[in-house]
């Protein structure tokens, strides 16, 4: 019975969304506005695509959207991730005393060595991704995630080795502060938070895009340390 009702309700909602997407214009506003959605002035997504490159000189338009045009959102998203990591740690903190530490069975030598071999390479890849965030697809979030997966590998393959939580905390803090500092310098220099105040260089060069690479590096560190911290906490071996 309950299942049937739920299904019915979901069907209604789905119908609503479907009618929305089916393009049938139910009102007067749709026609006039929808026709212009391709114009720069109306649809700012279009505007970013057409003018982003000259405004920020970042080869990857997505980077200039994420870090510059909508950088404030990115700050918020980084914060959300930070909260998730801190919150998880806070909840697990109370439980830690009760939980019996699981016995660490050492992995086989092949796995152990393989992990140790791969780890720096993964870190390198991650660093590459976030350093080149303004040039190629990817950026702070993706790079950070890759870095974190390197730590994951260490936990899986090399039991007993891992991050120091103090180090994680420092990395988290400093990278977050760096992000904010860059943003606030923009406020101090040009009167606008997150302003791209550095010389922008020429597009597609490594040193281009003004503050974008700086912020992306900060984000990369922050995401990497936060996700690493989450893994660290969950694996139950944090010190």
């Amino acid at each position: 019975m309950r299942r049937l009702i739920s299904l019915l309700l979901l069907l209604i909602v789905a119908l609503g969304i479907f009618l929305c997407f089916s393009g049938a214009s139910f009102g007067a506003e749709g026609a006039s506005r929808a026709g212009k959605l391709t114009e720069d002035k109306v649809n700012f997504g279009r505007r970013y695509a057409s003018r982003g490159l000259e405004e920020n000189k970042a080869g990857n338009i997505v980077a200039s959207v994420v870090v510059n045009y909508r950088g404030f959102d990115t700050l918020g998203e980084v914060t959300v991730l930070f909260i998730a990591a801190v919150g998880l740690a806070a909840i697990l903190h109370a439980r830690r005393e009760e939980a019996t530490p699981s016995k660490a069975e050492p992995a086989s030598l092949i796995v152990f060595t393989g992990c140790r071999f791969l780890f720096p390479l993964i870190l390198l890849l991650g660093a590459y991704i976030f350093i080149h965030g303004h040039l190629t697809p990817g950026g702070g979030f993706q790079g950070g995630a890759v870095v974190a997966s390197g730590f994951l590998l260490i936990y899986l393959g090399c039991r007993g080795r891992g991050l120091r939580s103090a180090g994680v905390a420092v990395a988290e803090s400093l990278s977050g502060l760096a992000f904010l500092a860059v943003a606030l310098v923009g406020l101090a220099v040009g009167g606008s938070f997150l302003l791209n105040f550095l010389p922008k260089g020429s597009a597609f060069a490594l040193f281009s895009g003004g503050v974008i690479p700086l912020i992306y590096v900060a984000i990369g560190f922050k995401v990497g340390s936060e996700l690493g911290g989450i893994i660290d906490n969950l694996s139950g071996e944090a010190r």
Partner: protein
């Protein structure tokens, strides 16, 4: 003039810095929230006169509004951010000694971030940014509810998380629909282009947004998480959740309905919903034996009244709603804070175990009484002034529909009076239970007495001189109602 963006950036920076500070000293982190909120309070209040003149529009990254995120610090936003900072400050002071167990440093981080989220919600002018700060607020509150790690807390946190996540998902879908229709996320830009909600497509997006924000705002069928979450959280967090977090949800609804959509046709529905929420909240609160659960249900009731007042669509109605947001924030924070130490003292959340506590904790009980009286709406406390404004607004509309709803809603007030006054009687006139253990850890430290006392004084002072807040209410209501002015301020020319 200080840039309003510092209201978000500075506390955020302090929160980011806490882990490092925590390594340096164990005692420093607990004072950081106090500093952050003190900063916010000073800045918000100093911004108030500017905001009253004209809303302050803050660009980020140097681009004009439709192309980038911006903050709009209008009278309503700055008033609410002052309220957030004020309650946040007092609760932060309370938290210095109240938080005794668990990861204390992490508590302080989450605490600041929750308030940053709330401040962001009330200040932002971009609908996706609204969502982001909403998430900051919600996720930190999920974590804080479960923060102690005990099973009830974790269970409540998980329930809250599930429902909150669904709510956020709905909001996200709604925002997606809006963006698909208009190609813009700036609220003013959308407002300038919405002609009517009559269009089905627009309506669906509005429905998603209302439902999604409604989960956090604790509107009736969407508020299942609230009683558990508010009662299981540490009292300082309950105070923030009840005093601020749910108001942020309601603010988001109001902003979306009034400013973005101008959806006046949906207002009667919201009014009915408000009254239903009010009645159900009060009815459920009546029989509660757990004091924090009772307070949580009472919050539901008050939210219903605020929603009802918001739905009046008149300047007095909205100023009444904003006033009630302020007065309920103060009173409910006070009640939760006071009950926090009472629970420490008696070791139980049962109302009957609090009997006779008036003798053992005279100041806390007195302040609790002040808060309870204010919530019921007895003069000369601030709750009266706000309820009075609402009733005046309803009668000012002269519409039979609203007056009938009001008459039903007043029953809620009577029920509220019945259960709060029962508690007050218990405090002072019922004998203490014989087997009540005298727990020495319940000794109230100075850091708890100051905020509780200050809240009581504020409740009385604003109640006697409502003009203190009253001057801001009118502009705040206009901020919400006057769409064309809003669009003009944000978009320029």
């Amino acid at each position: 003039m200080v840039s309003p963006i510092l209201l978000i950036a500075v506390p955020l920076g302090l929160a980011f810095a806490i882990p490092v500070l925590g390594l340096a000293s164990k005692r420093v982190p607990r004072y950081v929230p106090v500093i952050a909120m003190l900063f916010n309070l000073v800045v918000s209040v100093s911004l108030l006169p500017h905001a009253l003149k004209a809303p302050i529009v803050v660009r980020t990254a140097g681009w004009a509004p439709p192309y980038s995120i911006h903050l709009v610090a209008g009278p309503l936003g700055v008033l609410l951010s002052s309220l957030i900072a004020l309650i946040g400050l007092l609760v932060a002071v309370y938290g210095i000694d109240y938080i005794r167990e668990g990861a204390k440093v992490k508590y302080q981080i989450l605490y600041i971030l929750m308030l940053v989220g709330a401040t962001g919600v009330v200040l932002t002018g971009d609908i996706f940014n609204l969502f982001v700060f909403f998430e900051v607020l919600c996720i930190s509150s999920y974590a804080l509810v479960a923060y102690r790690g005990d099973s009830t807390g974790v269970e409540a946190g998980a329930k809250y998380l599930i429902q909150g996540a669904i709510g956020s998902g709905l909001v996200l879908i709604g925002i997606g629909l809006v963006y698909g229709t208009f190609g813009t996320l700036t609220m003013a830009d959308i407002a300038a282009n919405v002609s009517s909600v009559g269009s089905f497509r627009l309506f669906v997006s509005l429905a998603f947004l209302i439902t999604g924000f409604g989960v956090e705002a604790a509107i009736f069928p969407l508020n299942g998480w609230l009683p558990d979450a508010h009662s299981s959280a540490p009292s300082s967090i309950s105070a923030i959740l009840s005093g601020i977090a749910i108001k942020a949800g309601l603010y988001a609804i109001a902003r979306v309905v009034y400013t973005v959509y101008g959806a006046s046709s949906i207002l009667p529905f919201l009014a009915v919903l408000g009254i239903v929420t009010l009645l159900i909240g009060e009815m459920c609160a009546f029989g509660q034996e757990d004091i924090k659960r009772l307070l949580a249900f009472s919050s539901i009731g008050q939210m219903g009244l605020i929603l009802f007042a918001l739905a009046l669509a008149s300047a007095t109605g909205i100023s009444g709603a904003v006033f009630l947001i302020v007065s309920h924030g103060l009173a409910k924070a006070l009640l939760f804070l006071a009950s926090g130490y009472m629970i420490y003292r008696t070791g139980s959340r049962d109302i009957s175990s609090l009997n006779g506590i008036g003798k053992r904790m005279p100041i806390m009980s007195l302040c609790f009484t002040v808060g309870a009286f204010s919530l019921i709406g007895l003069p000369p406390f601030v709750g009266f002034a706000s309820k009075f404004t609402i009733v005046r607004a309803v009668l000012g509309t002269g519409s039979t529909f609203f007056i009938t709803l009001l008459a039903i809603g007043l029953i809620g007030t009577v029920i509220e009076g019945a259960y709060f006054l029962r508690i007050v009687q218990g405090f002072y006139f019922k004998p203490a239970p014989e087997d009540s253990p005298e727990q020495t850890e319940g000794k109230v430290p100075f850091s708890a007495l100051v905020p509780v006392g200050l809240l009581a004084v504020l409740i009385l002072t604003i109640g006697l001189f409502p003009g203190i807040v009253g001057r801001v209410l009118g502009p705040a209501a206009d901020d919400l109602l006057d769409r064309t002015a809003y669009v003009q301020h944000v978009m320029g020319d």
